[in-house]
């Protein structure tokens, strides 16, 4: 194994090899003035008005390449989306890598290129970073942490506490795509499907939504734990009851079929490019219209409303008969999904 082809412990040692990795892999891909100063921290100008949003996420997904994305693009989308659903315009990211000794530099370059492209598409800059290498067997291929800063414009206040009875619940598109795409590529469980992860940035969608209605009460991107986890958490924080309707929740036929075979419920399965929003009832149609004009919001749908069941509870009017209480998924339905 030549050092030139694979990551060695020296690449994380802070010496010459680390410098080469920076010069040959990270700098050319992430190219931006703040990073190129190579100082210990990036100095950024604060917004003149409004607030700062700050969020972090760590990515340990297995496999690192999956239909519809890879750990690189996912690590950018993940943090960008957390900022976006907080009402922020995402601006800057940090990237921390934990790499297993022996990892291929060609694959690392591919992942870094994918991060760079994702960042460009989201309009964010990767302005600081860090790389550590651990001995073979002490990590699985590579893990990435991204932390992001975004600017929240004045007057935007996204919080579950703002939700009132009668608010409308909008979902931006089909659910369960990411989780099933990863699952069907997992070793030992390969399925022959064309399901592709929905990993995508949500910042332009959020921008369009806030333009249509600056008073959107609350947004969340339902990643791990799926739609059910997001709704249950929002019900609990807001102290409101939420009733959704199964027939209104978009799920692709392929995802529905895989979930049926594996005994999963799509409402518990992870997404990486969807959001659920709580909007005032009189502007719901306007927000929906604005969402449908953005590519990742084409299949947006009103799925329910606030009120109509006990406080803190989520109920689903099923396609069969009657209502079902929705509980968050239990245990590790699927580890290392993001």
């Amino acid at each position: 194994m030549k050092r030139a082809d694979h990551i060695t412990l020296a690449h994380g040692g802070g010496g010459q090899a680390s410098g080469e990795l920076m010069k040959n892999v990270f700098l050319p891909a992430f190219k931006n003035p703040l990073l190129e100063t190579l100082s210990d921290g990036a100095l950024i100008d604060p917004p003149k008005r409004g607030k700062l949003a700050f969020s972090t996420d760590t990515f340990v997904i297995d496999p690192i390449f999956f239909p519809g994305g890879d750990i690189g693009s996912l690590s950018v989308h993940g943090t960008v989306n957390d900022l976006a659903v907080s009402g922020a315009i995402p601006k800057y990211l940090s990237a921390g890598f934990v790499i297993e000794e022996g990892f291929s530099i060609a694959e690392l370059k591919k992942i870094v290129a994918s991060m760079a492209e994702a960042a460009k598409n989201c309009g964010v800059s990767i302005v600081t970073g860090d790389t550590k290498v651990v001995p073979k067997g002490h990590a699985d291929k590579l893990f990435i942490n991204t932390t992001g800063i975004g600017f929240v414009p004045e007057g935007i206040d996204i919080s579950a506490k703002n939700i009132i009875d009668g608010d409308i619940v909008i979902l931006s598109g089909t659910i369960g795509d990411h989780g099933t795409a990863v699952l069907t590529r997992r070793k030992g469980l390969e399925f022959d499907t064309e399901i592709v992860s929905d990993s995508t940035p949500l910042n332009s969608l959020v921008e369009a939504m806030l333009k249509a209605e600056p008073n959107i009460r609350m947004m969340r991107d339902p990643t791990r734990g799926g739609l059910s986890a997001s709704l249950c958490e929002i019900a609990s924080i807001s102290g409101k009851g939420i009733v959704i309707e199964e027939a209104l929740i978009p799920v692709s036929v392929a995802v529905r079929s895989v979930c049926e075979i594996l005994g999963l419920d799509p409402i518990h399965v992870a997404n990486e490019g969807k959001l659920v929003a709580f909007v005032p009832s009189d502007s719901a149609e306007n927000v929906l219209k604005a969402m449908k004009k953005v590519a990742c919001g084409k299949e947006a749908s009103i799925i329910g409303r606030v009120g109509g069941c006990p406080a803190g509870r989520v109920e689903m009017k099923t396609s069969f008969i009657g209502n079902r209480i929705i509980e968050p998924v239990i245990g590790d339905q699927l580890p290392r999904i993001c």
């Binding site: 529905r256 069969f320 239990i330």
Partner: protein, 367 residues
Amino acid sequence: MKYMSEFRDPSLARKLQNVIGAETKKRIRIMEFCGGHTISLLKYGIPDLLPDLIEMVSGPGCPVCVTSKGEIDAAIKLASMDGVILASFGDMIRVPGSEMSLRDAKARGMDIRVVYSPDDAVKMAADNRDKKVVFFSVGFETTAPVSAASIKMAKIKGINNYFVLSAHKTTPGVLSALLAEEVRIDAFVCPGHVTTITGTSIYKPLTDAGRPCVVSGFEPLDIMSSILAIVRQANRGAAETEIQYSRVATAKGNLNAQKMMKEVFTPVDALWRGIGAIPGSGLKPYREYARFNACNEFGLEIEVNDSETKGCICGKILRGLNKPTDCKLFGTACNPEEPVGACMVSDEGTCSVYYRFHGKVSEIEAR
């Protein structure tokens, strides 16, 4: 999409609901034996659609739940041995043994891996010739033939480092045991997939004892049709075996699967968690397949341990004597994140199903 919509048609369900309501004349307690049926019943809210005269009780048909503590302890003991890889179905991982679960054992460094089928375990053995791979094999007649086939395949391919720790259970013995319970069960919704393998002869002791038996599919309309068939049998005083799930199950069953089981396994006495010992209701590899039995290879005895944690009423729930909501621990000390009893662990466990689809106990009371 056929099976995901037609068998869940709400307007047909309403019609069935009306017919069942009109035809039910007397009090009838029906046991759904299988955990898969329990899931459908509660997921689709079927008990709420039935007249008050019909009471549904859940049975012991969850293989994970009836695996005894001694069997789990034996699996952990094997996993703790040098050079052993223990392969297990995912559902078994969280079930508490007498001291810990397989998940706890894995966290302590034992080599325990989840597989989706025994074939994967055979492959694991072929890929790890310097290790001994033990498949912790649980399940009823639905999984036993596959496990038997894996042993036969290992023999044919000369994979001598593959072993099976058999915790299989078979249904005929436990069905008879249910008849002896103090609370009378009037009729049975019988397990569709077990019957697909065994055929319907296993229900003869039940029909001989005057209990209508209907082999049911797992969709909500399947189960409602089966309940209607039971009501009609009860009305005319009949006790027969009917197959509602005729698109899959037959009276004779799967003869190849039966042959495979008989070739590799011989019946042994088995301890059912919460129920007790049932003669001849377990399976172990015998004759030329005996050397694949992990107990033989490692000189291991499965300890008889039917103690349960104080307050846990899983045993009574598995026998249809109590409902999960009768248990003081349900939804409080015992929940799917931290199960006390076995019924809370498996997705098909009665307590877990109640917890997931009926919410917490306080919420049920509030309804």
